[in-house]
Amino acid sequence: MGDMVVVRKEGLYCVPGDFYIDPWSPVPRAVITHAHGDHARTGSGHYLAAQPGIGVLKSRLGDISVDGLRYGETVRHNGVTVSLHPAGHVLGSAQVRMEYGGEVWVASGDYKVEPDKTCDPFEPVRCDTFITESTFGLPIYRWQAEQDLMDEINNWWRKNADEGRCSVVFAYSFGKAQRILSGLDAGIGPIVCHGSVEPLNRAYRAEGVHIPPTVLVTDIEKAALRRALVVAPPSASGSSWMKRFGDYSDAFASGWMLLRGARRRRGVDRGFVLSDHADWPGLMSAIKATEAERVIVTHGSIPTLVRWLCQNGLDASGFDTEYGDEEEGEATPPAAAEAPAAGDANA
């Protein structure tokens, strides 16, 4: 039997099932691991996604034909048994398990191993072949415990508030923003969310995730901003929207902030190392837990991870995908993300 999942020009394709996983071009049938822009794109005929993520998916892709599947629930499609399992990445994120002819393949989408309060925790799924992401596939990437980080954020906010200075955290509006919100100490001051963050807060609250009360900047007295914490997408940085906050202190929340170079390029006062992807030990433990003998690596540090896994006795190879090309997501290192589209006639 050939490989159950291959790369086609439209995306990852399940051969016996005749469906795609997170396709980057329109296809008849798409299974979506999560609603970040580089994994969920418009134009496909029919979508399948994990139930908790349906709200977000619809809010981003509009009126689509979509079925929601509860985690662990199975459906059969062209003889392939398909089920979705929590990936711990963002609300509704899922790994796709496919079983056919006694063989099991799992496509991870994006995942994070450490649990957090905003989505179901990552669940290791045993399989023969595991398709893993590798965004932070270098041993330098190790995340601190989430609580320590939240303490850092709250302390920074408290200090700013005591000095009468507004705190602004730049974070991707879907996922990262809600993670931060869920860990804030609302006793410090008011919490303001940018207009692009608020709809996602609603989707999270609708799924029963606890997000502290938030307001839009238009709904708060200017004086109260001096004690406020503002959550805004990175694109708001440097925009005129920021002017109202006066002498604010700013921070950027991303796994890339681990490195001083990346932090200084960002030019913010603080970098909070907060990621919704697995760190190096997370990738290693997740791969091990699947007990897969074959591992296929997608977006991130493909050659590095492939070489390391091969060296450690696994049958590893890479898939070229188009994930990680989107601004709204962490999958691209900030250096490359900042590079404007090539406009060089000579090259």
């Binding site: 490195l259 001083r260 170079g261 990346a262 006062d269 090539a342």
Partner: protein
């Protein structure tokens, strides 16, 4: 170490001067004097010798993390900083310690110098296992001798002045010599640094120089400075800025970087001076009877040498071209106006009548236009332009303007259009970005025409331009040699530089000084870049 790591992080994480100052003050008011002494040493730019060779540090980090060399190297490529790479690849510590900086430096790091490799390995393993990543990062920096922190010496001086409640000029004065590595930072030393002003301040000075007064670049036209008569105008020499200090019957020669360089210039070490005199000037190679100083390249030949033979000293004789007098008969003259110091200087140089000590001549003209005309001839005089010193200026501390000002009015740099040929990633905030470039010019004609590399440059582009160039480099790579990429020649840049000299060591046969990128020439095709012949033409114009 924890306190110091916290301070380092605070300084590193903010770009705001006020917040850096706050962090420094908070540190100095809580740290014990022995720890603070070492902190001052590092913050003021002290660079201890490497205690453990980089090779061993790297090997033991790889062992400790149970990784392979290639994976370490890939990690290093992504991080762009050796100590930071080690700090992150090691598994988290299982123990925690909080030992002060002084104990770390004196009892834990110093004994590693020259120790048996096995002993170094054991020590590193146990140290790493009690520190979190920020502290490990610092530890490797302190051991590896590459510590740098994003804070100016001026800011450290201000913080100490605030803590001590004394004038920051006094702190700057006391700080001289703190970082030259010959005096160990001690608690007593720190307490003296922040003590109230005393009457015997002067006798405590030893052979120390005064903080150098630094000039500002004149951006616009000098006519904005008022009447030329309010300014003392001199040539700007291209040598080594230095203070020659005579105290206690001995000469001390200090470079601007506060390195003691007396031994490199035995002629000046032996120059006869009256005790209690400090001269400020430029060390230059000047052949007897010559009307002009020799090019900087000649001075470099002396700097590079470990031992100075009699032959070399005869071939490349130095002088101190003096332009300021900071101390006379043991009296600090720095708060006299420039013109009064100048008059005293002229009298002293005349009295000493020593060919080693030349007086920097005044440039006389009655209008800015006339001065501009003279300045245009700078290259023929082997100078970099002019210095404009306010007649009323005191001798300030560092690059300040509060007690008067010195302007440097430099000639425009040489400029040439060159092609980017090789690139390699930078470090620090430029890690993972291709920011260090090698540029080439055309040589030969017709079929034989080829690009010859002549300069490396890495500064001069904005972040947005760097991102664009980085993008093109990645898309036009031909070959990779380790971190270096050769690229298809597609990009032309205007490269500026200050000087040019023959150099058999360089492929192009010439070497340029202070090359930097002036701008990207998107309007020029690669074929239109400049040629080696044009560069050589500049060489002749420079009279070299």
């Amino acid at each position: 170490m924890r306190e110091f790591a916290r301070l380092y992080a605070d300084l590193d994480e903010t770009t705001s001067t006020t917040r850096k100052l706050d962090a420094l003050q908070a540190y100095f008011s809580s740290a014990t004097p022995e720890n603070a002494a070492w902190a001052v040493y590092f913050l003021a730019g002290g660079k201890p010798r490497q205690a453990v060779p980089t090779k061993l540090l790297r090997q033991y980090a790889i062992d400790y993390a149970a990784l392979d060399e290639w994976l370490f190297d890939e990690s290093y490529q992504a991080v762009g900083d050796f100590a930071e790479t080690i700090a992150h690849i090691l598994p988290p510590p299982t123990e925690r310690s909080d030992i002060g900086l002084a104990v770390w430096m004196e009892e834990r790091i110093a004994p590693l110098r020259g120790a048996e490799p096995a002993r170094i390995r054991d020590a590193l393993f146990s140290y790493w296992n009690e520190l979190e990543w920020r502290e490990r990062f610092l530890l490797v920096k302190l051991i590896g001798g590459g510590f740098r922190v994003g804070v100016s010496k001026l800011l450290v001086t201000r913080a100490l002045a605030a803590i001590a409640a004394v004038d920051s000029k006094l702190i700057a004065q006391r700080l001289m010599g703190w970082t030259d590595g010959r005096v160990k930072p001690t608690a007593a030393g720190f307490l003296q640094l922040i003590a109230e002003q005393s009457d015997d301040e002067h006798t405590l000075r030893g052979g120390q120089p005064y903080p150098f007064f630094l000039s500002h670049q004149l951006a616009g036209e000098p006519s904005q400075l008022g009447a030329p008569g309010d300014w003392i105008v001199e040539w700007k020499y291209d040598g080594i800025r230095a203070q020659l200090v005579r105290r206690g019957g001995q000469n001390f020669l200090w470079s601007r970087g506060e390195d003691l360089i007396t031994e490199r210039f035995p002629e000046l070490a032996a120059a006869r001076l009256p005790d209690g005199m400090v001269l400020d000037g430029e060390v230059l190679i000047w052949q007897p009877g010559a009307s002009l100083p020799s090019p900087f390249a000649d001075l470099q030949k002396r700097i590079g040498r470990k031992s100075l033979s009699a032959k070399l000293l005869a071939e490349l004789p130095v002088v101190l071209c003096c332009y300021d007098l900071l101390e006379l008969d043991g009296v600090d003259l720095r708060s006299l106006p420039q013109h009064e110091r100048r008059a005293l200087l002229e009298a002293e140089i005349a009295r000493l009548d020593n060919p080693l000590l030349r007086l920097s001549p005044l440039v006389q003209a009655d209008s800015w236009e006339a001065l501009a005309l003279l300045r245009a001839g700078s290259r023929a005089r082997a100078v970099e332009g002019m210095m404009l010193k306010s007649r009323t200026a005191h001798y300030g501390v560092g690059r300040t303007k509060d007690v008067g000002i010195w302007w440097k009015w430099k000639i425009d740099p040489y400029a040439i259009d060159a092609v980017l040929l090789y690139a390699q990633p930078g470090s620090g905030r430029r890690a993972s970005l291709y920011t260090d470039y090698t540029f080439a010019v055309w040589d030969g004609d017709g079929e034989e025409r080829r690009l010859v590399p002549f300069a490396k440059a890495y500064s001069g582009l904005t972040d947005a331009e760097i991102a664009q160039v980085d993008n093109v480099i990645r898309r036009t790579t031909i070959e990779k040699f380790g971190p270096v990429r050769s690229v298809k020649p597609t990009m032309v840049f205007e490269i500026g530089f200050e000087g040019i000299a023959l150099s058999p060591r360089h492929k192009a046969g010439i070497a340029v000084r202070f090359p930097r990128i002036l701008r990207r020439r998107t309007d020029k095709a690669v074929e239109e870049a400049d040629t080696l012949d044009m560069l050589k033409g500049l060489l002749e114009a420079a009279g070299a």
